[in-house]
Symmetry: C2
């Protein structure tokens, strides 16, 4: 299959309001492919360490990948990456929907945003052309209004808009980027970076086609992927209930984060469950480009907690972050809170966990209503939670403190509150309790972005189940593994699985469509890359891509001064969960430290500092990074 891969990168200099088009070599595309790895390639090559995350020197990369735009389920994600204003470390966030493929069909694999516009602008890209346009009339407006104004101005209803909201304008360091009002690059504050550049939105329209080296093969692959969906337990479940199905799954396992991670079961779990959502507020299942699973939900709520379908509906993470972790069992209020976050551009995870932190502070008497602008922030108060969302987005009163995230807020509040600030590297915990799935614990601790569920294998216990065990067999991992194991065999399984999660982030593969959960098999992923690009690739090359991206992100953080000291879990997670019950779960601190050491060594990193060795950098084709240590 001879087929030179050609992809274009749009470079936008906002300070000078110029755009240029670059064509990296095929070797660059083959080595980094897209998303996480290709973003890191540009950031590490072009950006020096120590830039102000909210200053003009922080580059902001939007990156799809070599397979994006091909009509295949689960290939829709794109990455936004920059130095994170929340953590000071590598920041990245993925989102699905239609924006990523649209960018690709418009002729670009990615966009590198540089500098800072003196006044509000948005970027308009259509079929290989790019224009920086005035956004004075968009500034300060809700995302829904902005999307409508842009579509009206440009006269095309099919334009896809990715944007920060007012939270991004207000430099909330966990402001997200929203595309089409409901697909979210959530974590690490990429919306704040947009806001800092006075870039409110990127509007994209592509009418082109993606060139496929072997269209016949591609047709076969698509057929196989679509056929497999109903046969995979997760694909089937996600089609039926969406990600909200996890609420009861985790509740039943006793690891549904509740009461700011103090307990693993929530009395109101059934009320906020996917099953209840399905029966009561669901408007329709919605999905991403070319995907028949449609795991996302739109909801309609009338009255006080109004929610409209255009802003989507809560996914699992949001049901837990605005629900169980705050002990809120009012599903309508959660749906409304979800809409507010999408309307104003806030990451629902960081938002909910920040509010849960404040709630614990109030329950413990560290905060009173005098500190919180008279808002009752005890666990379970839905109205208090909703009011705090607004105050965070607009940095009003106590919201201005919570807007900086739990790490900085707890430092400001003091009085021992740091102990209840559930974050890693400054990123609020995604809603997964490592005490019931140690792989997630390792993943959270070593993730370059902090406690990020998109960087960490969700649950390495999958191997205990038939289909999921089969999915891992091409790697030679044939043995089941307990979810609470933390020994060398778990480290082995974790380090392999982490590479899968990593290449997913470089190839735009949705974790729910991917190994080990659903429609994709590892060979099918390899075949997809081969069919689209014409490259004679292999699972070896794709796994190495995963390791390469992990190692590049590690190097990004090493340059920013992070070290092994930043790979930790909050102390609370070493306390027993459900203490005294039959199901008590606990992570042994010494075992965890030992697992971390084994992980460093497994990755070819220094066993003490966790810094990638020169030799492993060379092995991964990253010899150019040796001098950057």
């Amino acid at each position: 299959m001879p087929h030179g891969y050609n992809g274009k990168i749009l470079r936008v200099d906002l300070s000078n309001k110029t755009t240029t088009v670059e064509t990296p070599s095929e070797t660059v595309y083959r080595r980094y492919m897209g998303g996480s790895a290709l973003s890191l390639y540009f950031l590490l090559k072009e950006q020096k360490a120590g830039v102000d995350p909210l200053g003009p020197d922080n580059k902001l990369v939007f990156m799809s990948n070599v397979t994006s735009g091909v009509p295949m389920p689960g290939l829709t994600r794109y990455t936004i990456a920059a130095r994170s204003p929340l953590t000071g470390a590598f920041g990245e966030a993925e989102a699905g929907g239609f924006w990523g493929p649209e960018l690709k069909l418009s002729g670009f694999d990615g966009i590198i945003i540089e500098g800072c516009s003196p006044d509000p602008v948005y970027l308009w890209i259509k079929d290989g052309e790019a224009e920086i346009r005035d956004a004075a009339n968009l500034w300060g407006k809700d995302t829904g209004e902005v999307q409508q104004l842009i579509r009206d101005e440009l006269g095309d209803k099919r334009i896809r808009v990715a944007q920060c909201g007012q939270a991004g304008e207000n430099l909330v360091p966990y402001a997200c980027v929203v595309n089409e009002l409901k697909h979210v690059n959530g974590r690490t504050g990429m919306g704040a970076v947009m806001g800092s550049k006075n870039l409110r939105a990127i509007a994209v329209r592509g009418t082109g086609e993606v060139s496929v080296a072997d269209p016949e093969k591609m047709k076969e692959i698509r057929k196989e992927a679509v056929d497999r969906i109903p046969k995979s337990p997760l694909g089937y479940t996600l089609k039926k209930i969406g990600t909200p199905v996890f609420v009861m799954g985790l509740q039943n396992s006793g690891i549904l984060p509740t009461k700011n991670f103090q307990v693993g079961r929530f009395d109101g779990a059934e009320a906020i469950s996917g099953e209840n959502l399905e029966e009561t507020l669901l408007e329709a299942p919605k999905g991403c480009y070319a995907c028949p699973i449609m795991c996302k939900r739109t909801v309609r709520v009338e009255g006080k907690y109004g929610a409209t379908p255009e802003y989507g509906g809560p996914e699992y993470e949001t049901l837990a972050s605005l629900g169980s972790v705050c002990c809120i069992d009012n599903l309508e209020a959660i749906c409304h809170g979800n809409e507010l976050c999408n309307r104003w551009g806030l990451d629902t995870i960081s938002t909910g966990v920040s509010i849960a932190f404040a709630m614990e502070c109030m329950e413990r008497g560290i905060l009173t209503e005098n500190d919180t602008d008279k808002i009752d922030l005890r666990f379970g108060n839905a109205d208090g939670m909703l009011e705090m969302i607004r105050k965070i987005a607009f940095r009003e009163g106590f919201g201005d403190i919570l807007a900086d995230g739990v790490k900085r807020a707890s430092q400001k509040i003091g009085k021992g509150s740091e102990e209840w600030a559930m974050h890693i590297k400054g990123l609020e915990m995604a809603l997964h309790d490592p005490r019931g799935k140690t792989g997630v614990g390792l993943g959270f601790a070593v993730s370059p972005t902090g406690a990020d569920h998109i960087e960490a294998p969700h649950d390495t216990s999958f191997a205990a189940e038939g289909v999921m065990l089969d999915a891992m067999k091409p790697l030679g991992l044939t043995e089941p593994m307990s979810p609470t194991d933390l020994g060398p065999k778990k480290v082995c399984q974790f380090a392999h699985t982490q590479q899968i999660f990593s290449f997913n982030n470089s190839l735009g593969i949705c974790n729910f469509s991917a190994v080990p959960y659903s429609a994709y098999t590892l060979p099918l992923i390899v075949d997809t890359v081969a069919a689209v690009t014409g490259w004679d690739t292999s699972l070896y090359e794709i796994m190495e891509l995963g390791e390469r991206a992990i190692t590049m992100a590690r190097m990004f953080n090493v340059r920013e001064g992070l070290s092994n000291k930043d790979d930790y879990l909050p102390d609370r997670l070493f306390e027993p969960l459900d203490e005294g019950t039959e199901e008590e779960k606990q992570i042994n601190k010494k075992e965890f430290a030992e697992a971390l050491r084994l992980y460093y060594e497994a990755m070819g990193w220094d066993s003490k500092t966790g810094v990638p060795t020169d030799g492993r950098l060379a092995y991964l084709g990253l010899e150019w990074l040796i001098s950057q240590k």
Copy 2:
């Protein structure tokens, strides 16, 4: 393809003259597969460090692999492994021919020989049954006679015999094992280990079939492999001239080891070339089981330097070891010497390099004819060389000194002769000069068995050529590489290629049929393993098998007290080759040390000691070796 892999291991206790049959789990077969890795599994699990290589506690393993016995070109090799009496380190040697597949067809994947028989015996295996038989009448006889006597005694001309010769009986530490008189497990003295156990031969006959999970797929694969042979430059050349073709290839590159590695060109190269052999002494091309390449040669020589086809003919290594490295340009004498080695069971490489060492000592006046039983051992003296072969095999006079290999001989001779003893870890240099191919230099230095061409990628410059560059692309290695480069990019390419060479040794794949040289592609190897076993394997799993075997061998050596100090090249190889000419080639010592460090780190080994880290052991599923450090 559901297909549980079942393989049997024959365990032979020579001390008690009992045999038992074991069936390792499918997990063991999948993780280690055969050859090198599976031998190491048993040695590391069962044998403590520090055993006398020639004592009863040294286990001797004969190992085929999961694909052996399938009628496919290039899948015929089997491994013999034990602690080496020559190096004290891991000993292993591979051989082709028909014996390995015959063993598999007899119902066994491998044989573990333990203890020591009080009297000469041989082992007779047929269709799942094994018998230890008296070999009093075989002891002291030439290999040809022994093979005939066994076939006569058992009444079956089709019996395949692997045996040590008198050199093995005499415990020459570089005695080889010969099967069918011309296929040789050459290096590291496995014949001496046989001799030490009073085990003269293993006779095998199998009339069974190997079960293939997907026979249709296997048929396709075979067709593709056979089709590819004439299209691959090396396959074509090997079919036409055999491995002797390398004589002129290396001569033309100025790296044909000559005069004990003092120079890289030999005036007599054409006389000992494959082309000349083809025109003069060739009887017929001969090959291995199911292979149409037939890269081996039989020769017929009448008169003083008589040679008969039954003992085969010299391959490249022998043409150089008994030829150029001793400055001998008499092709008939080399053919005769080759026959003597196969008749008495001597590794032609160690034999020739030992004689070349003695020749240099004599040329430099360190040795005189008084030391060498009046034999003129000046460079170029064919009769002296031939006489020394006899004296080495039978440990006569000066032969008793050279029989111990150049390392010990030079220590005995002293007077600075250690400088001309061309060995690594005690194993005489295979006939490849690292000054013209740095990958071989790295390979020789880190090979667990010493300067062994079967452990070291022959020439990582292959990437400069079209077909060979294509062969490596599935690993993402797409860029050409100079054969004399020694920087981080070479280390990257070397470490990847070494894993290919390593899994070849575990899967019985002939290097000449394999990547990057000839008929096999990397995907074809994966498909072969999958088709035979029914395993849903991948190139990732197979590459990891390669890394696993390298790491296990490293651990074997760590247990035996070897360290980074044993990873070196002889000083001579840091001197310029062809000094003062336009083609001068030199390895920079500091660059080489730096490349070694990068290699250790690339492998996840300690960057100073070269000891595999706990974490990388865990990653490779070798957590059980952590406690053995």
